[in-house]
Symmetry: C2
Amino acid sequence: MNTEEPHPTPGTLKVSAKSNPNAVAGALAAVMRERENAEIQAVGAGAINQAVKAVAIARSYLKDSQIDLVCIPSFITVEISDNERTGISLAVERRH
Amino acid sequence: MNTEEPHPTPGTLKVSAKSNPNAVAGALAAVMRERENAEIQAVGAGAINQAVKAVAIARSYLKDSQIDLVCIPSFITVEISDNERTGISLAVERRH
């Protein structure tokens, strides 16, 4: 029997309205140096704003490594405190 | 002498917090059926939220045409009523 909690998908960052976009950008840049893709999940206008800013900042962090990023937004349903809420997923990929 | 007002760049959509994401998505989908790229400009969390939702919706509008979209966020400075404000530009491109 597997009694472990489900692991978050590697490369998935959950962003809230209180998240610091610079810190999220640092985490995203670290992931994107190692991987081809990542995902940012955000629920609510404040959180989505921070998520988009984080991608813009991460692009500048990655410039010296000759990596550029694109993101692909889609709607997701997220369970928060037993309520289903609609959020946004930003699939982040390296730009080729 | 050219006395005309400067034209907005074709394919540039300005989105506010009050914009209807479905309407913006329709306009964006129409542009992206004709062109390889477009730009969405938004200032403030509410506007950026609507802009990202519009891209997500436009992706579903374009699915039947076998067109998918990516967006590339960056910071821009926009003049609003003689004040300089920092906003977000989403460069929208077809995904190849």
